[in-house]
């Protein structure tokens, strides 16, 4: 009843089938990139991808996830090379960062449907709560990620602490300049 695929790996959770997917991911799989914010589906911090749709994982049980493909922020890209991950770093979008995994997973599902979303489509899809107030950068970053996906733009690699941009580009193929 609780067998499904998480980040391309088959898993079976030996937990109460009524357990929300959020807590199975966090407490059993230690996939803590999926965040708890409200438990009522309002804030979006727990958003994951289930069969291509952005779903608030606090609102679905592991029983209801049976047989589905779940992707969390940890599985979005093998090397943080997803255009949203690149642009969110390049555009200094994050503040405290707590809402960001849910925001990125929501936006990734949107961009998969349409790589060129309008402001209205973005507003309708991104109902996630950010208390820091990253909103002024959010629409632009999602649209820019769409341009990267469409091959119209390249993002300068942002190195994590401790390595240079060149080293970062070596580690992450998507960050290499064409």
């Amino acid at each position: 009843m609780t067998k499904f695929t998480v980040n391309d790996r088959p898993v079976q959770y030996r937990m109460d089938p009524a357990t929300p997917l959020l807590w199975a991911l966090r407490d059993a799989s230690n996939l803590t990139g999926t965040k708890y914010g409200c438990g009522t589906g309002d804030c979006g911090a727990c958003t994951v991808d289930i069969d291509g749709e952005a779903v608030r994982s606090c609102q679905v049980t592991i029983a209801a996830t049976e047989g589905k493909f779940v992707t969390t922020i940890e599985g979005l890209s093998p090397d943080r090379g997803h255009p949203l991950q690149q642009v969110f770093a390049a555009d200094n979008v994050s503040q405290c960062g707590y809402c960001i995994p849910g925001v990125i997973m929501t936006a990734a599902a949107l961009l998969r449907r349409t790589a060129d979303p309008s402001d209205e489509e973005i507003d309708a899809a991104l109902t996630n709560i950010c208390r820091c107030g990253i909103y002024p950068r959010l629409r632009g970053a999602i649209q820019r990620a769409g341009r990267v996906m469409r091959g119209e733009e390249v993002v300068d690699p942002v190195p994590p602490s401790g390595i240079t941009p060149d080293e970062a580009a070596k580690a992450v193929p998507a960050l290499r300049k064409p």
Partner: protein, 759 residues
Amino acid sequence: MNTDRRSLLKSIAAVSAGVVFPVTMTGCRVADPKPSDSVELFSWVVMMPDNTVRIRIPQSDIGQGVVTTLSQVLAEELDLKWSSIRPEFFDPLTNLKRNNVYVYTCTESSWSADRLFNPMRMAGAQIRQMLLTAAARRSGFDVADLRTEESSIILPGGGRQSYAEVASAASHIAPPHPSRVKLKDPADYRLIGKPIKRLDLVPKTTGKLEYGIDVDLPGMLYAVVQQSPVYGGKLVSFDEQAIAKMPGVVGVVRIAAGPCGLNGPLADGGEDYGMDDAVAVVADSFWRARKALLALPIEWDDGEFAHTSSESIMADLVSRAGRPQPVVREAGDFAGSIGRAHRVIEADYSYPFMDAMPLEPINCTAWLNSDGLQVWASTQFAQEAHRLAAVTAGLPPERVQFNLPYVGGGFGRRCQNEYVSQAVQIAKAIPGKPIKMIWTREEMMARGYPPPITISRFKAGLDEKGNVIAWFNRVISGTAPDQSYGPARLPHYVPNLRIEYARVKTPQPFGWMRGVAFTQHVWMNQGFQDELAVAAGRDPVDLYMDLLDEGSVPTDLKGRDVAIRRIRHMRAVLKRVCQIADWETPLSQGRGKGVSVSDFSYWDTYHTGTASSVVEVTLDGKGGLRVDHVYVVMNCGRILNPEVVRGQVEGSIFWAITTALYGKITLKDGRVVQRNFQDHNVARLATACRNIVVELVESDDHPAGVGEDAVPIVMTAMLNAIYDAGGPRIRSLPLSDHVLSFRKQDGSDALPGKPSGNL
């Protein structure tokens, strides 16, 4: 512990491979020559063998970017290669043992830049001198012939020695006295003031950054708590047997009420604030613990606030507003001058309880075993959390290790550490097992630390020309520290002025919500000033400029230079924001604009930024409101990182919008009515204003805080804009309690009806 999740900020214990600089010297804050204020400056950096450098960040990163900006400050003087920097959070125990070596560790009041700019520059410069001396001894050259560049020492002839090569020798060299250290000329800065990317951007996009709630330890158990739902209530009993057989349940723990520390180094009178009795259910998963807690029969004694409500508190405040209260500022003769005024205007403003609601729910992990106590918590005040953990556990501080992870939003809520006391009490009851305690969102809403509910009564006299000749303001607020600065530190010197301020005890303990008392009082003061401008038929900017008059500052005023500087800074940003916002061009029907200007000057020596805002709104006449444009001009002294500052101003704008639209916590029968985000909306992307212009003034002044200064002015400008657009005069919050239809012809406020949402 799952070590691969800790790649960014390794725990202090893990860095023993590096050379730790000694703490044998005494440095001075260069800004303060008094020996009594001397602080040690080392323990700041750890040189690693691979020439990477760990910089200790003596603050919590709550999203404001201190990990990056404070690294910039120290790395500038130490001439570090930026890509070699690996920041890590300070260790409160080290700070305690070494006599507050990290100078200022409470993350509140937007103070990190102000308090740490000088110490961290000096620490970097001193360490650089030590490295140079070591390299000179080793190479045989004079120190004067050496220079540094990108974490290396450059020898005459071009030879290089890495910092790592000389670090060990340098650690035995006495650090130079600060008076013999020359800091860089700001013209040579290559890091300070530059829009450097935040150091934590990448792990924030991959889910790998570890917040307190993400701590994972072997054999860890989970706890969910419920504190008395009524503030001040007592636990009578609970029926553990009712849930004992529920799957996964380990036990139920009674958590005792009591004092739980300070919520800031400036807490009112140094008194502990309290927390109430609570019950924790411990289980093998969060979900099971939560389910069992919901099923646990608990009996509470609701105590003295059992019948207290926001309404009853406000009625009390209104009643007190009818009686004289203690005077906190007085000038001239208010009573006489108001009788001579051409026009007298009066208004009452009020402010509800609110909640900061950071997105990461309150949590704390505690593990008591034979080695002592380990604690992890996302907090804004780790030093106090460490002390509180030791006191609660009954252990000497040396046996308590406090680990500070990243913080998923603070906004003042995490200046309180009562959850640390709770988690340690649970760990004491179940020793040997790490316990991760997580509050539900419902528990967070039920047990917030609000800014005080407040009423502010105004009375002002205008002369024939519309000048303000008399100003009276009586403020009564709920439980709070002494925030008389809110009403009293007006930059204006109205010739006849009387300000009264009093506080009454209300159920909730006080919290430092982003913007603190200035959000309340800048709005109330300038909302009322906007009323005066309307009554006098004047442009509010014209009225503000008249009030911001250097000539009106009394010549015998203590701190006169500060008063004049405040006025000059305010006039400058106000003038500039009017230019960029095209203030004088009127808007079409249904649209309006408002303006506000303030600094954050709580007292004369408080380093503060100054900011001014113009906000434009549209009312659709049916109750809908749209914020069209927000302009902010800010002078925050020297800017450490303009990208980070802009982020803080942008965040403040949305804090202001949420506060105005939805900010309200309602108390009924001693309980908070709102339970989750469904009952308390916040600004979202669709609510967000699309046109934001932030201009930062270039300045060589000491860096000032930027985390909250834009909140009061943006909210004030937005609320004044609603009136300008033809809407009602807003004298209470939130807007979701008001009907934003157009005023009637006679000028009275909107017709009663059901409030509607945003455009």
